[in-house]
Structures are given as C-alpha cells and as structure tokens.
Symmetry: C2
Amino acid sequence: MRRRRSGGRAARQAERVANHIEQQPFLTRRLKPVEVLGNEGLEIIEHNADIMLEEIGVEIVDYPEAIELFRGAGADIDGTRVRFPAGMCRELVANSAPRTFTQNARNPDRSVVIGDPHTVFAPAYGSPFVSDVEGGRRYATIEDFRNFARLAYMTPSLHHGGGTLCEPVDLPVNKRHFDMVYSHIKYNDKPFMGSVTHPDRAMDTVDMCRILFGADYMEENTVLLSLANANSPLSWDFNMLGSAKVYAEANQAVLITPFILAGAMAPVTVAGAAAQTLAEALVGMAFTQIVRPGAPVIFGSFASSMSMQSGAPTFGTPEPALMLYTIAALARRLGVPFRSGGNLTASKTPDAQAAYESMATFVPTVMAGVNFVLHTAGWLEGGLTMGYEKFILDADQAGAGQALVAGVDMSETGQAMDAVRETGPGNHFLGSAHTLANFETAFWKSGQADNNSFEQWEEEGSQDSITRASQTWKRMLKEYEPPPLDEAKDEELCEWISLRKASFPDSNV
Amino acid sequence: MRRRRSGGRAARQAERVANHIEQQPFLTRRLKPVEVLGNEGLEIIEHNADIMLEEIGVEIVDYPEAIELFRGAGADIDGTRVRFPAGMCRELVANSAPRTFTQNARNPDRSVVIGDPHTVFAPAYGSPFVSDVEGGRRYATIEDFRNFARLAYMTPSLHHGGGTLCEPVDLPVNKRHFDMVYSHIKYNDKPFMGSVTHPDRAMDTVDMCRILFGADYMEENTVLLSLANANSPLSWDFNMLGSAKVYAEANQAVLITPFILAGAMAPVTVAGAAAQTLAEALVGMAFTQIVRPGAPVIFGSFASSMSMQSGAPTFGTPEPALMLYTIAALARRLGVPFRSGGNLTASKTPDAQAAYESMATFVPTVMAGVNFVLHTAGWLEGGLTMGYEKFILDADQAGAGQALVAGVDMSETGQAMDAVRETGPGNHFLGSAHTLANFETAFWKSGQADNNSFEQWEEEGSQDSITRASQTWKRMLKEYEPPPLDEAKDEELCEWISLRKASFPDSNV
C-alpha cells in the first residue's frame, strides 16, 4: 500500500503533511456495553422475528434474481413473497459473516476495524440540504459535498469519511455518484462508503476502487462499506438488494439497515420495532451471505419515534434509545458488527434542542457499544439538512467517546493514593506530584466549549456555540490541504470517470 | 394532613385548582442501574477510602463539639484531626441509616420517596446570578427566587421544590433564609430544602416547618432535606456539620456532599476522586447517625473536571460521568440513597454547548440510578447563574426520564405481533388497531422541541429553542396561581418570621 502511493519528492512531502493531520484512533472499549433487557427478553424478540419471517415473510420487489437466490437457499416462495423457515437466515449469517472486519483506507493509518470492542464514527449521510448560520438553508451542491469531505479529513474524532455527505443536487442523479466517490478519494484519505441508488452505480464505485486499490487487493481486502436500507415493513427492493449483491460479490462490506419510524413503518413499541428490525435485517444480511459467504456485513438499525399528532418524525426521545440498546444486544448475540445512533435531531438549527436531542441518542450510542456510527456529525432537521456548525459541534462531542468507553483506570496511578497522602486535608492538589504528572491527559478537553469566566466571555463578544463553530469550519476550510494522492492513479481515475460519464445521457432518475 | 389544610369554600376551591396542576410521579426504575466497575474495583475504592480515614483522617474546623461526638463513637482524636478505625464510619451508616425515606410535602400528593428504585428531580441550587434572554445576566433577587419557586410548582417533571433556587442578594445574608424558606412554603407545595449557612438558620428552618407541619408530626416524619458540603479534601466545618446536626436531631434528612473539582480538591483520576468522595461522605453520614441513629441521610457527590490550562471548572466531560457511575455503585453497596448529577454546564447561555454538556451529565444521572437529582433545571455558568430559559429546557428533558428507566415493555401489547400480522409487508402501521390503541402513550413528547417542517418553522418566525423557552416561562408566570395554604398557618408563619427578623440586626455575614 505504502509503495503504491510513493512518487517523488512532492508526494513524500505531501505524505508528511498528511501525517501531521491529527487523528484520534477509533474507540476501543473496556466498559461492558449497556444492556436494557435480559436474555429471556432478547430470546422472545428473536423468536418473534423468526415468526415474522416464517409466517408473514418479506416482499422482494422487482428483483426475481434475488427471489431465486433465496429459493436456492431454502426459502419458501409465493410470487414475490419470500418466507423463511425458522432459524434459516440466522444460520446463514452466523455461519459465515465475520464478527469483525477491517475497512481499509487508501492511507493505511486510517483503516478502521469494524466490530467489537470498537466504535467507528462517520459523518451524517443523505441530506438534500445544507445550512450554515450565515447562508441559511439551501440545496446542497457538489462544492458542499467537497467541503464536508475536507472537514471530515481534518476532524480528528471522525474515523471514517462517510458516504452521501449531502446530495449534490446540482449534478444529474444518475451521474453524481462519480463525483461523490471521487471526492471521498481526492479530499480525504479515510475509509468511505459507496453508491447504492442503483446496482450499476454500485459497480461504478467498485470499479473506481479497483483503479485506486487494485483489483487483486480488493478481492482479499474490504475497502468499501455501503448502506442498504429495507423498505420497512418487511420489504426489500431491487436497487438496495441489487447494490448489496454487487458489493458482496466483490467482498465489500454492506450495512443492512431497516429504516424505521415506529408507528409508521413498525409498531409503536420498542419490542415490536426491535423484532421487526431484526427480521428485516436478517433477510438482508442472509442475502449477502448467499451471494458470497463470508462477505463482511453490518447489522444496522435506524429507529425513531414520531409525533402521533402531526406525523412528524421525532428524535432524542427515550423509546428509540431503548430500541438502540435492545438491537445492539441482538447484534452481539448474532455475532455481527452493529450500526446505529449518531447525533440525531429534528431541530432546524444547532440550538439547544439540537444538542439535547443529539446527546439523547449519542450517549446511548456510545454506551450500547455501537460499532459503526453513521450520522455522528452534521445532522439537522431529521436528516434533511447537513449543517456546517452542527458538524463541528457534534464532532467535538464525539471526541469524548474514547475516555468514556475506556472506563475507570484502577492502576496505582489511577487510584492516586500518593496524591491524597501528599496533599492532606484542606490543601489543594494543583501542585501535587501526581497532578503535575497526569494533568495533561487527565480530562477530555472540548475544542468548542467556552469555559472562561463570564467577564472574559463577554469581553470576547458573548459568542454562543454556533458563532464559535462557524469560525472553526471556515478556518478549517481555509487551512485545508489535500492528503497526498498518487498522480498517476488520480489521472487514471479522472479519465475513467470522464469516459463513463460520456457513455450515457444525463438523467434525474 | 388533609384536614389541617381544609378551611371553607375558598380553600376547597384553591385545593381543586392545585390538584389540576399537572405533576409527573417521581421515577420508578425497572432498568438495572448502569455500572462501570466490577466488585473488585469497587472494593479497592472502599479499601482506599478506609485507608484515607484511618491514616490521614479529616480536619474538623471550629467545631469541638463534633470532635467530642466522634471521640465518643470511637474515633482517634489529635487536635482537630480526626482519624477513624477501618470500617467505623461504614458500620455507623450501614447499621442505622435508612435505605429509603419519604420526604413529606405539605400537599401529601407531592411527597417523594428518596432511595432505590426511585429518582426525584429538583431544580438547580445556589446561584448568585440569574439570566434570561432579554434581561441578560444580573444579581438574583428575592423576586427571582419567588419566580423559580412558582415555576418549580408548575413544572410537572420536577418532583421537588429544591433549596437555594438563587441567592436573593437584595436581602441581608443572615436573614434571607426566612424569605427563601417561606417562598418554598408559600409558592409551591412540593418538598423543599432548608438553610445550611449557619446552625441557627437551620434551626429557624426547622421551627418554621414545625409551625407548618406540627412539631409532633416532624418528630416522626421527614419534611426537610438539607445540603451539607464537605470542604474537600478531607475537611468539614462548623456551619455545615452544625447545620447537619440540627436537622439530624430533628429527624430531618441531610444530603452529605463532597464538592469536588478533580485536580483542585481531589486527585485528577476517577478512582482517586471516588475514594476521597466516599471517605468524606462517610464522615458526614456517620456524624448524622451519631447525632441520631436512623436519621435519614443521602450520600451525595458533586464531581467535576477542570481545565488544567486555565483552572476553570469544566462540565459534561466523560471523566465526571465515570465518577458518577462509580460513586452511585458505592452508595448502593453502602445501602443509602444517592445524590448526584443534573444538567450541568459551563456555558453562559442556553446554547448548544449548554445542552451537550447538560445531557452528558444528565443521561448518566438517569442511567446510573441516582435517587435525588439536584441541579436538574436552570444551571448555567458552572452554577453561578440560574437561567430562566435553561430552567424550562432542562425540565422539559427531565420529562423523558421515566420512559427511559421504565425499560422495555415485554407484554403482549409491547411485543405487538398482532400489529405486524395485521399490517403486512409494504404497508403502514398508522391505521392498525394496535397503533390506534397505543399511540397516545407510545412515545414521550417534548413540550419544547419543534418537530414541524422547515417551512412551517420558518413561517412561525424561525424561532430557536431559547426563544420558545422564553415564551414558556413568561406564560407560566402569567398563569401562575398559588397552591392553597391554610390562612391561619400562613399568618402564624409570617408573624413568627417578623418577630425573629426583628430580634437581631441585619448582617451580610
């Protein structure tokens, strides 16, 4: 890997710059994950998922090939309805899906391990709009996408570049994936996600990575992770399953995520939504293992509540937090990595509502032991908007994750008896040898919080956190320097993209 | 109790009004409390606390009477330094302090049970300043105090009226406790906290409650809870211990809380600060049991980190969250109720920083099973300011607590298999019989969050959460009607206060 990127003095210099970008390692937990339900409850939910798959089954929409694959693996087929004997999907997944896998980045220092006991943070995904405090809310463009790729590169607490950082609606729907994937490659050197809006676009993503990483390398190594959502309840379509098939065939990772607004796409209860999520995810995960046993796959859950008055999705409520804890435990029992959570909110602006709601999801995300966290930074307005300031503020909070999951240090230094003996009653610890030896690493330090006195804060303009975050992202984009990228590879990629783009007409479908 | 308050038609009408004020019950958890350390680690911390008490001991400042009481109970005395044989304090507490107790309110419907498996929420405590979005930050007055007593009365998620809601700095220091305690009695009917700034003021508080509740009643029943802070490290003074003695003698509850800024008043590590907190709290709790075995006492912890660069206290960091989980487990092992947490922040304004930091403490508070939560609502600027909007926003979030600790409903309704069977693949659940039967109670609903569409939000003036909260507290104060209070009692109280106030000169010490 390293050899492929080397190329003369300029490249070596660029590599030195890249290595100076601060990066925090992905989280490694020493804390036990928090669980909210005992084994008996989890077994009931698993049983209910089995019943759903056996009695009700799932609809496979516009994808006869997938139906035939399921039939071949032992499912009962009735038109487009596919039913699974109890335990069939679970066995397919448990027998071959890896417990953990490495998603390789083009900079090997940025590769991540997905699975227990680790947690990997990725930016928010999928917003058609962006907003910042000065410009307000507007449709996203490819330049916004590039900006968020640059910010993700420069943000130490984000271990992953993410996927659809925002929808570049200034580009045709059927070609924007080229520019999105290229931006991930060009402006960041962390691992990233591929296109899933059509199997052809998934194939384009794989082909671009084959140029970047080499086809042989990709046969043995996972470099892509891509998100396939079920059409809840109990339905999977051609685009998502077809894209999943492309990636699984190429030994690339798929994140199988039922997207559930409980009350609309699932029952209004935690146990009901959890069982349905498990059922739907089992089908998607089993599909990847039928396509290629051993292909890396992540059990995903996106579950939110809704206002039963207005029908609006709501975030940061306690019931989805309970779903998160419950489904994380189900994934551990199944033995696959788990994705959920993030900093979710319905707020239109990064105000207190946004932060309360975000943390009401993010703290459970970390405490439940989620392995891959999409939507770590930037999410506003139920995912419709990617916010520049919200991105900065969320990512800052994410930086606290490692200290939390590291748990309590019970070493001699951690017990600090010498410090207490040295200091004694009524004195202060500021000058004790123990404090002096440990203060620099003692406490996680926010880069965004203002802890100054009121007087100093006032003197500096009484800035709230939006104002400070605005200054941060602007400064970051100004200081941004791209990570080194082998020039020959870059040219080859651009040429390939240009030929592919010219080979079929623009379309907004 | 009910008989004492009745008194003609007006009183009965007022009582009906009071009963229409919405009040959520204190939390009752079905979830197991989250723990971050196994028994072995907790035993080491207990052992270290014993060593601190036996080897180093505590200073008892300006309070020879307390030293004599400790000597009588078996402690080793060396001047003002008091050392405790290993296990002595623990035994005193474990042998007689109650695991749970009821703090009675003058409205018996508002009485609270403090101890497992319950959680009681009280407002923030002790700020010299108040702030609101229009008036900015200013010194607090008795009218602010009354306002927060009114708001606490009207806030369903607050189960307790709190104590020093803010410092009424317009009143003389040595007499303001009369007005504070009277305001709790007059403007709210929930349980509240007494004065601790001098034992005489503690006695005044007890005397006022004897008028309100009757001296005989108070001998058998706890109506007051008061906060005694240690002077960390390892030091207790006359005012705090002396006030604790007054309350314990009267069978009233004391909340023993080491106030620790780790790095200044304790070591910079979780295990070190936890052991010191336990040691200091054991001394205070043991003292109450020496004074009156069986007097209700709460093990408290207030632990925060600090910026080792500027010395400023910092909030919402992960290390104090780990301390909270650890010390909550120590309190459970000791068998006494535990106080900690709240919605803490260093922010000067209820912005995103305030909310991120608050939730980084509040979620652990709820998940750790804290029994009494001071600082649930209003805290800004490291406790220097009580914020009107922050009060509303924090209290709104506190409303989510019960749904979280209730855990997962595994009843047939909770499992919701009928809903999945009825709905089937690809359809929606909005009209299913299960949804219609359960939607009203399915999800906790914020009273402050805006979940509307961007367009509707914009049309309504693009209000952020500060603006909405500002409207809320103003409306509440406008609509406020005091709870019924027996007129004869009220007169007797006012007369007594007036005589006491006249009996000694004003002073600001």
